[in-house]
Amino acid sequence: MSIKKSPWISFFNAGGCNGCTLECFACFNPRYDVTRFGMELKASAKHADILLVTGIVNNHNKKRLLNIYEQLPEPKRVVAIGACAITGGLYKGSYSQAGPVDKVIPVDVYVAGCPPRPESIIDGIRKCLNDKRSR
């Protein structure tokens, strides 16, 4: 049995405006209810299969993001959510940034938008589960 049937999810806001994180939380409300795919929100990264990263990575949070990425047990997936996590967005060129998420940790799926709608976040998570690679 793979992580396809019960993907457990953890969030990390690496340094954005928190808008994308709120949209991620909206996936778990009765309107979008992702628990019907077996997904569960886990506070501890050691329980999670998929890490949702929002926001540009600032220097302060780089160490923490690496730490959390290492805490996810194999097999694991990372989804970068929002314009800041993909390119830097509004914060691009800032003095305190360590680059977008894929400069720090490997990313499987990018979900674009500022912020992206919950439907597209759910679609991104489903797509990263169909990925055949085992990293």
Partner: protein
């Protein structure tokens, strides 16, 4: 030996029960909810995942010890395979032992979340474990029985209304249901005891919790409405606890401890009424 294998069939039943529980909670939130077989998928996935190595032996042993505790209880409670005199006290002690293992594991993990959970659990133990043991003993005293095998009282809540209410209250803490679930508060202290476990260890802990919760619902039916209706009416108790879970706030640790010390005092007073 065949009886023991028969009882082990209760383990998949406990997982289905957990699936039904999740569906009920989802319906109360106006959600669709996960599939009925979701606990099986979760356990299978967790076993297949890679686990983090930890050099602490206590930390590594705790999930298996907790699972053994749950399996021991399942041998005694619904069908009383290894029944003996005063086994209700042994059941009470096994529940305490399982919580003690969780505390050991959480402290050995050195996680601050685990530390918080174990300190809160130790505080709560002052109140609810005394109440739980007294309540168990009172039910057996009221029925004139010495073990689960010869417990024949039916509709005991008509004779022991106060004790039945006390039992429902201790159920809140043992099942970690909201008014008194400070030790497993998901929002504040991530997963409490389990926050540092991963892979197979976490699967064992989840399995132990599912079996323990299932047994508690049966135990409530067993004591309050009697042996014959225990399995039939256990979903009703689950429904009651799920209504409480979805509709009540979380009390602070201090309030919880005070409540349970008060309930322990009430249970003591109740002994004198019975004698």
């Amino acid at each position: 030996m065949i009886e023991i294998l028969f009882v082990l069939l209760l383990v998949p039943l406990a997982l289905v029960f957990e699936g039904v529980r999740r569906r009920i909670v989802a319906r109360m939130h106006n959600r669709v909810g996960p599939p009925l077989m979701q606990p099986f998928y979760d356990i299978a996935k967790l076993i297949s995942k890679k686990e983090f190595q930890n050099r602490n032996e206590i930390f590594n042993l705790v999930p298996y010890l907790a699972l053994i505790c749950s399996l021991l209880i399942i041998l005694i409670i619904p069908f009383s395979i290894i029944g003996f005199d005063y086994d209700f006290l042994v059941v009470g002690y096994i529940f305490i032992l399982q919580d003690t293992f969780y505390i050991f594991g959480a402290i050995a993990s050195r996680s601050p979340f685990g530390m918080f959970a174990s300190v809160r659990e130790l505080l709560l133990m002052l109140g609810y474990e005394i109440t739980f043991l007294i309540v168990l003993a009172l039910f057996f005293y009221g029925a004139g029985a010495t073990s689960f095998q010869n417990y024949n009282a039916e509709f005991a809540f008509t004779q022991l209304p106060l004790v039945s209410i006390l039992l429902l209250f201790t159920g809140f803490v043992i099942l970690r249901i909201t008014p008194y679930d400070v030790m497993a508060a998901e929002a504040e202290i991530s997963a409490g005891f389990f926050s540092e476990y991963s892979g197979t260890s976490l699967a064992m802990l989840e399995l132990a919790e599912f079996i323990k919760n299932f047994v508690i619902y049966i135990l409530l039916g067993f004591l309050i409405v009697g042996k014959t209706y225990a399995l039939l009416l256990s979903p009703l108790f689950m429904l009651f606890y799920m209504i409480m879970l979805t509709s009540s706030p979380r009390y602070s640790t201090v309030v919880t401890v005070k409540t349970f010390l008060f309930l322990a005092a009430l249970a003591f007073v109740d002994i004198f009424f019975l004698v």
